[in-house]
């Protein structure tokens, strides 16, 4: 009988199991006389009934409305915990889901027929591990020899001036693409035809295919568009087709011209950047294609050692070449790291929930004694955590939606021309997959935060809970594992918080920075010239010719702009002030700098023309400015700003001193981001005042080195003008450029203020995200410590009451209660300081946007905050409450108080003191100790 009852209890509460076993025993007694037969039958029947009950239960939903109602009630009852856990979980889930979303943005299944079989091919330079796309010659060989690939084609991104019939000029982005691109995408035109192989032959008529959006916007949906001629730069093209709006292959294009690059006209390895795509042949696998091209790559390396010795071709999924990850493993590592963040946060919430659950041990033990199964109690605690994580997941989805909208708008803003926005395969909506991922993360968070504490409390500790009912103290404690988690978390907080806070503070500081000059007076534009005529294989002659053409048009543009009304200065520069990249330099004969772990000092690099300093109000402090003679690649003259002089020369005269650039990783001399090499020493020939006067980004470096602008690095035109004429000037610059030469184009014009605002928007978002994580970590650290203290007090509340009633000094009682916990927390903080300092040094934060003493403060701040968080509510809020409603619970302790009256303490105060000892959770005791 006992065995039968045990079996039945596996599937139902004890009372039901007992009654059912009784029914079965009674029924068997009616039918069978032999006791042994009855016993065996009883066990067999018990197994059957247990199976039925389990199956019936499995068919029912595991959670009912009552569970949800109780869960919501508990969330309301503990608002502090609810708020902390809610926001922390929301941030963590948002990060986790965001990390997965990045993967789906960067490596989606291409939304084309058989999209998973479309691939990209590129060469990788094994020396630098970067891609090399000057593959025009290799492309021709791949096209003719690879058998595992079909529809092998290529495209080149180009820009041309599109001259509309109404005289409007727009610099348009085009794909000079093989006809294979249309075959791969499997799209049919809504008018006319697509590009065909015959269009790529030399001498074929220049033709153009346009997208539907372009057809409507630029050509007014002209029904007679097919056959209409269009000026693209200096060349007249005939429109032969209109593609549907959803078609944007290869990236986000709306204009397509035939791919006509002739390898015979370029030296090997000197062609323009070419992007190659293909489809895996029917029956061919990606591995087979990789193997085939690897063999071909080895052969080409031997056949053309000068150009291909270090190049190895590789085949990757089509969208991979657009993702800025060298290795997809990096992305997985990032995702794992983010999920770990979620786990850490969920564990922290679990500590908090556990601490709360500890205070409910009596309730849980009582329910268990009344017949509630362990599953029932665990389910209810899981639902409580689930309600929390579900709400957090909703907030996380809201955060993601806002972030996605911002990312899309920023990407669109950065897309030159912005004709069609982000790549066609990127979907920034909250897809079902993202929602599913978010739900999955919420379940993981709920499982960690709800189930682990529940299992802990309902396990062998139930007995302790029952005992606590009698003793009115908590029989449960935070074990070594939980304590280690709290200490570890304090260590992590101390390690990460200073760095994150520094970054967040500095980003916030610059998110609303004023450039210190009238940035709305500057119109900036980047421009280009169509490469005509085609270069010869030697390249050099044509390059000189191209440069000559470009420089003459540039000079003419400047001359005409300077004579425009309202224009006060025109200058060329490589990049805009405030956006210069960092480089490392050493001073010739300057010797090593003490304490510098990496060689060289950071400066900001730019190339400017002779007018730059005047245009940006940078006055000359010493030496000379740039002259026309400096505008050549071999020039060694540089001009530095006052910050440079102050930092490296202590304000002393630097003219004639020489600087050298520290080479980047890999062989060869230092290379600037403008693509030029900086091999030798450069002499300081002049000093100018700081421009801009204030920094605009969190980049801590403000020492600047200016090199003379050469024809090879022309990038940006800046026109200083009357701000009210910005819109008119934007169009005027385009008109003047086209009037000089239809092939001379202005790609994009913007007021400098807009550029800065965009940068600041990025800074602001970055700062907000960092601040969110930082705050989350800080709050959780406080929560973890609060949990530790709360459980400690909860366990010892009776002792606290007795000691207080016997006249113990509050300070000594506090020290006794919190001493060990504070030691542990101090250990955690000390453990975290070392990696924090290393992190700050590695990221060059020390001495940068914040000072060293500020960093020291940031080390101390988390611990202070957490301790304060722990003590304040207990002292302030609960102190007053302990005198009234819960006094009766403390009758036993109050008796002790009467037995051992405290000297100099009024009866009401004694009652208040001892009454607090029975306060649930023990917080009241501390409160009373504090107010006494």
């Amino acid at each position: 009988m006992k065995l039968a009852v045990r079996i039945l209890r596996l599937a139902m509460p004890a009372s039901k199991a007992e009654a059912l076993a009784g029914d079965l025993a009674e029924d068997l007694a009616r039918r069978w006389r032999p006791r042994a037969v009855r016993e065996v039958s009883l066990v067999m029947l018990a197994i059957g009934y247990a199976a039925i009950a389990a199956a019936t239960r499995a068919a029912r939903p595991p959670v009912d409305a009552l569970d949800v109602k109780l869960a919501l009630r508990m969330l309301v009852k503990y608002p502090g915990l609810t708020v902390i856990a809610f926001f922390s979980m929301a941030v963590a889930i948002a990060f986790g889901a965001g990390a997965f979303a990045i993967h789906s943005f960067l490596y989606p299944r291409l939304p084309l027929p058989g999209g998973d079989r479309i691939v990209s091919i590129e060469n990788v330079d094994t020396r630098y591990r970067n891609d090399d796309r000057q593959v025009l010659h290799d492309f021709a060989i791949w096209q003719s020899e690879l058998e595992t690939l079909t529809d092998l084609g290529a495209y080149v991104d180009i820009r041309r001036n599109l001259l509309s019939a109404d005289g409007r000029v727009d610099a348009m982005r085009l794909a000079q693409m093989s006809a294979a691109g249309f075959r791969i995408a499997g799209a049919s035109p809504i008018k006319g035809r697509t590009l065909e192989d015959r269009d790529e032959r030399p001498g074929a008529e220049p033709v153009l295919v346009i997208g539907e959006a372009m057809w409507r916007r630029v050509f007014g949906a002209d029904p007679a568009i097919i056959g209409r001629t269009v000026h693209l730069g200096a060349t007249v093209h005939t429109v032969v087709g209109v593609m549907p709006e959803r078609f944007a292959f290869p990236v986000n294009h709306q204009l397509w011209v035939p791919f006509r690059l002739d390898p015979g006209r370029y030296a090997r390895g000197q062609s323009p950047d070419v992007n190659v795509f293909a489809r895996l042949s029917p029956g061919a696998s990606l591995d087979a294609a990789k193997a085939e091209i690897a063999v071909l790559g080895e052969r080409l390396a031997q056949q053309f050692p000068e150009s291909n010795q270090h190049l190895r071709p590789r085949i990757v999924p089509y969208t991979s070449v657009f993702a800025d990850f060298d290795d997809i493993d990096q992305l997985y590592v990032m995702q794992v790291a983010v999920v770990m963040l979620l786990v850490v946060i969920a564990v922290n919430v679990a500590i908090l929930v556990y601490a709360r659950t500890v205070t409910r041990a009596g309730e849980i033990a009582m329910r268990t004694a009344l017949g509630a199964s362990r599953r029932r109690i665990v389910t209810q605690l899981f639902v409580e955590a689930g309600a929390l994580s579900a709400a957090a997941a909703v907030l996380a989805l809201g955060i993601l939606q806002i972030v996605f909208v911002q990312i899309e708008s920023v990407l669109n803003a950065f897309m030159p021309g912005g004709e069609a926005g982000v790549p066609f395969w990127m979907d920034f909506s909250l897809s079902p997959r993202i929602v599913l991922n978010t739900a999955g993360l919420a379940v993981i968070a709920a499982a960690i935060a709800g189930v682990i504490p529940a299992l802990k409390v309902t396990g062998r500790h139930v007995q302790a809970g029952l005992q606590s009912l009698a003793t009115r103290g908590s029989g449960l404690r935070l074990g070594k594992g939980w304590t280690a988690l709290v200490v570890g978390q304090v260590a992590i907080t101390a390690a990460l918080l200073p760095g994150a806070a520094v970054m967040a503070f500095s980003s916030l500081k610059f998110a609303n920075a004023d450039p210190g000059f009238a940035a709305d007076e500057y119109l900036v534009a980047d421009f280009g010239l169509d490469p005509e005529p085609q270069p010869d294989p030697a390249g050099s002659t044509t390059r000189v010719s191209f440069d000559t053409r470009f420089l003459s048009r540039q000079a003419e543009l400047i001359r005409r702009l300077e004579s425009e009304p309202g224009v006060s200065a025109v200058t060329h520069l490589w990049t805009m002030p405030g956006r210069e990249p960092n480089m490392r330099i050493t001073l010739e004969n300057g010797g090593p700098i003490p304490g510098e772990e990496r060689p060289g000092q950071l400066i900001r690099f730019n190339r400017v023309d002779a007018n730059y300093f005047r245009a940006f109000d940078a006055t000359r402090r010493a030496g000379r400015g740039f002259a026309n003679a400096d505008a050549r690649p071999e020039s060694t003259a540089v001009i530095v700003n006052q910050h440079f002089v102050d930092r490296f020369f202590g304000g002393a005269q630097p003219l004639g001193r020489r600087i050298q650039y520290v080479p980047n990783a890999g062989p060869g001399p230092a290379q600037a981001q403008d693509g030029t090499e900086l091999p030798g020493a450069y002499e300081i020939v002049g000093v100018v005042s700081n421009a801009p006067a204030r920094e605009l980004s969190s980049n801590a470096v403000n020492a600047r080195v200016y090199h003379p602008l050469t024809a090879e690095t022309y990038q940006t035109l800046a026109v200083r003008m009357d701000p009210s004429r910005a819109a008119a000037m934007s169009q005027r610059v385009r008109d003047i450029a086209v009037a000089i030469d239809p092939a001379f184009r202005v790609n994009r014009t913007r007021v400098l203020q807009e550029v800065y605002q965009l940068d600041q928007t990025e800074e602001r978002w970055g700062a907000m995200m960092l601040a969110g994580v930082t705050l989350s970590v800080l709050v959780l650290a406080g929560g973890g410590i609060y949990a530790l203290m709360s459980v400690t007090v909860s366990r010892r509340r009776r002792e606290i009451g007795i000691r207080a009633a016997l006249g113990g000094e509050p300070r000594r009682i506090l020290a006794a209660i919190f001493g060990r916990a504070l030691m542990l927390l101090a250990a955690g903080a000390l453990i975290g300081i070392v990696p924090a300092t290393l992190l700050l040094r590695a990221e060059d934060m020390v001495g940068g946007p914040v000072s060293t003493w500020e960093i020291a403060l940031l080390h101390v701040a988390p611990s202070c905050f957490c301790c304060r968080l722990d003590l304040r509510p207990r002292t302030a809020r609960r102190g007053a409450a302990c005198a009234s409603s819960r006094r009766r619970r403390c009758a036993r302790t109050a008796r002790i108080s009467r037995t051992y009256p405290r000297r100099g303490c009024s009866p009401s105060r004694r009652t208040r003191l001892t009454g607090s000892a029975g306060f649930r959770g023990g917080g009241g005791a501390i409160g009373c100790l504090a107010i006494s």
Partner: protein
């Protein structure tokens, strides 16, 4: 405007109705074995313990019956009986189900007698 039908509300499945009627028939001592005996006596239909057990569980879940524990008896190995009592909702459900059958059989008596 149509009023609320007197038959609206949850109805009982056939075996649920039989079990609930048996609970009413047995009265205060309605525990599974007594209920099974009552059904067998009145309908001549053999019924398994498991069916009774599952149905009673379901009726309790739906709120049509409540259970309490009686005194232990030696023949049951000292285990208490689990005694079932219909709730007001259970009685209402029985009324609805019976009324539904009556309503559907109204006018068919002659036909039903013949067959």
């Amino acid at each position: 405007m149509t009023g609320r039908s007197p038959l609206s509300g949850p109805l009982l499945a056939e075996f649920e109705l039989i079990v609930l009627l048996a609970v009413l028939q047995v009265g205060d001592e309605a525990y599974p074995l007594a209920i099974r005996d009552a059904i067998e006596q009145r309908t001549g239909r053999r019924t398994s313990r498991a069916a009774i057990f599952i149905t009673l569980e379901r009726l309790e879940e739906k709120g049509f019956v409540t259970s309490r524990y009686g005194d232990p008896t030696p023949v049951r190995g000292g285990r208490a009986k689990r005694l079932f009592t219909p709730t007001a909702a259970g009685l209402a459900a029985v009324k609805r189900s019976v009324a539904m059958v009556s309503s559907m059989t109204a006018g068919l008596q002659a036909l039903l007698r013949k067959s």
